[in-house]
């Protein structure tokens, strides 16, 4: 609860200083993967290792969503046989993992980034193009209401 208040305080009182965008990494093809290079604007704000760990976990989650293997083939074949009508009633594996990613980002924001005056935006809200990191001005953060 205290953490949630922190996040809300952040968005109530703090002004946005700047935004940093972590772009996609296409070196492995069209799979969803973000660059893990540490942006220089965050150097004063967050620990490099922490940030890289967050990005690695995020990339792993997206890799899990897009994994081509037995399970996805089964899902695809079943869908094909039912003329793809099961997509209307069933949640796909990708959607399930996206929910997991949303929970992960919320948890990271609450535990790690909001106390540091940062906010990670779920990439799905930006069309899976970027990870947007909002840097808030460093004032009255954590000073409850």
């Amino acid at each position: 609860m205290a953490n949630a208040h922190n996040l809300q305080d952040l968005q109530h009182q703090a002004a946005v200083a700047s935004k940093v965008y972590v772009q996609r990494d296409y070196n492995s093809g069209t799979i969803c993967r973000f660059q893990t290079k540490f942006p220089s604007e965050l150097e004063s704000r967050v620990d490099r290792q922490q940030f890289e760990e967050t990005m690695h976990t995020l990339n792993n989650l997206y890799a899990e969503a897009e994994k081509i293997g037995g399970k996805s083939y089964l899902e695809g074949c079943l869908a094909c046989m039912t003329a793809y009508t099961i997509f209307l009633c069933m949640e796909t594996h990708y959607e399930k993992v996206l929910k997991k990613i949303a929970r992960f980002i919320k948890e990271q924001n609450e535990k790690i980034y909001a106390p540091l005056g940062l906010l990670l935006t779920d990439p799905i809200e930006r069309g899976l193009r970027v990870v947007e990191i909002t840097i808030f001005e460093d004032r009255s953060i954590g000073s409850g209401r």
Binding site: Y21, C80, Y84
Partner: protein, 498 residues
């Protein structure tokens, strides 16, 4: 109040304006994102169904299929059931269901549209373009080269969507959207074919091939049996006009559809798109099978499985999400025929605070000199089509001679809509071949869909017309409309005949 504020900042949160006083429904009703979608699409069922704006041919496709199948079930099946087997209408029925379901899913599914960038993100990209280029080799501005599986791939900058297009993404000028893994724009289904609906499209054409062949075979059997039992073929034809109609329809469509199925089976086996095949993106001297396609798994079975049975990616445009109430851009609202929805009801403190926050963000973008003040207030998430005079000051003149790649076709006189292969395939329904073959199907009947729709900006030039002659003479983008599509390599010129 706290909850209200938190949700309003979250762009995907559902804002409940019921806290403010009741006003006219237009002003207070929470609007969904599809209502302010900047692309040229139509939405039905409150955003659940998406179609291209020009979808007049879809009813024709549906009508042809339903009429032919209806005639088959009504006039041929009774005879064949009594003389042959009851399986015939059963198989016909199953195929019919498959065809119609696949068609509707292809038409109504988001093909993989990429949402346009927000102003902050676009500004960040612009900054990167300006500051990059420290190496000795300068690639043409507004392109980025990356290495995928040891193959150099050029990413082009999309002026409409204000981003570097991911690999295999192309901007469809019919729909005015960037579409992932863009295959082609198909007027027969009234939608683009891209990453998310390619499997439906493939299923549609394959099942339609079977269905057409099946009906054709059954009708021929029916007429043969009748002519043997009766007084000859001519009398049989005269007595069964419905069968004649089916015969004619099936005969003319079977060539196109079988050819198209074969072509797309080849594409699936080698993990190519129609767009890439036409432009010869991965051709090398070693031949098509051994080309430099960086996306292939080098195994036909794996390619097929990955394309058709891979995980189903989500829609990125969030059509049914709600907009924060005060962030509707007035210009877009006007285009939609609604009154401009400005933040008039600011009595609520939380809306005022949110507005301030957003204004600060907007001003900081302006100060960077990237968004002229003349631009109407753009909400995050709502990217307006920027008019020519309000373009970013960064010159784009050296973007290379662009060609408007309308609906994925290359730069030649290929009629748009369904752009197809030039590999010597017979002219097919949805894939119109190049100059040599007589245009049929899709290309021949292109005329109605080739006109530019009346669009929001009055200055949209005929670069958006599908007139091939005009496209060849398309000038550089510096003084024309922003939505110039950076076509691919201009050295392609006319469609290569492989």
């Amino acid at each position: 109040m706290k909850n209200c504020e938190y949700q309003q900042i979250d762009p995907r949160g559902i804002s409940t304006p019921s806290s403010t006083q009741p006003c006219t429904e237009n002003v207070q009703r929470p609007r969904r994102k599809w209502e302010v979608f900047p692309g040229k699409n139509r939405f039905y069922c409150d955003g659940r169904i998406i179609l291209a704006r020009q979808n007049g041919i879809l009813p024709l496709t549906l009508g042809l299929i339903i009429v032919t199948s209806g005639l088959f079930f009504a006039f041929d099946c009774p005879f064949l059931v009594t003389h042959l087997t009851v399986c015939i209408p059963v198989i016909g029925g199953v195929l019919f269901v498959f065809v119609v379901t696949s068609l509707l899913q292809t038409s109504f599914t988001d093909p993989g549209i990429l949402p346009r960038t927000l102003p902050d993100e676009a500004a960040d990209i612009e900054k990167q373009i300006d500051t990059s280029g420290s190496s000795t080799y300068h690639p043409p501005p507004r392109t980025k080269e990356i290495l995928i599986n040891q193959q150099v791939v050029k990413l082009k900058y999309c002026f409409t969507c204000k981003m570097f297009r991911p690999p295999r993404t192309s901007h469809c000028s019919m729909c005015d959207n960037c579409v992932e893994r863009f295959d082609h724009h198909c007027p027969w289904v009234g939608n683009c074919v891209g990453k998310r609906n390619y499997r439906f499209f493939y299923s549609f054409i394959v099942s339609l091939s079977f269905h057409t062949s099946f009906i054709f075979g059954c009708v021929v059997t029916h007429l043969t049996l009748r002519s043997q039992g009766g007084n000859g073929l001519v009398l049989a034809l005269q007595e069964n006009p419905a069968s004649v109609v089916e015969l004619v329809i099936c005969f003319f469509s079977i060539w196109s559809i079988l050819g198209l199925s074969g072509f797309h089976t080849y594409l699936v086996a080698f993990n190519l798109t129609t767009n890439e095949d036409i432009k010869g993106s991965w051709l090398s001297k070693r031949g098509a099978e051994d080309s430099g396609n960086p996306y292939t798994y080098d195994n036909i079975f794996t390619n097929c499985c990955a394309t058709l049975c891979g995980p189903m990616p989500p829609s990125l445009i969030d059509r049914r999400g709600f907009l924060p109430p005060e962030d509707i851009p007035p210009a877009v609202a006007v285009d939609m025929g609604r009154p401009p929805f400005l933040a008039k009801n600011d009595t609520n403190m939380c809306t005022q605070r949110t507005k301030d926050l957003l204004e600060r963000v907007f001003r900081s973008s302006e100060l960077q000199g990237l968004w002229p003040t003349g631009t109407p207030k753009t909400a995050p998430g709502q990217e307006l089509r920027v008019r020519p005079e309000s373009r970013s000051p960064a010159p784009s003149s050296s973007a290379g001679p662009p060609t408007s790649s309308c609906s994925g076709s290359a730069d030649g006189p290929l009629p748009t809509g369904c752009s197809g292969s030039a590999n010597g395939f017979p002219p097919t329904g949805c894939s119109s071949s190049a100059n040599v073959h007589p245009p049929t199907g899709c290309s021949g009947r292109q005329a109605p869909s080739m006109e530019c729709p009346p669009v929001n900006s009055s200055k949209r030039p005929s670069l958006h017309s599908n007139n091939p002659a005009f496209r060849l003479a398309s000038p550089s983008p510096s003084f024309t409309h922003n939505t110039i599509i950076l076509g691919d390599a201009p050295d392609m010129g006319f469609i290569p005949l492989h």
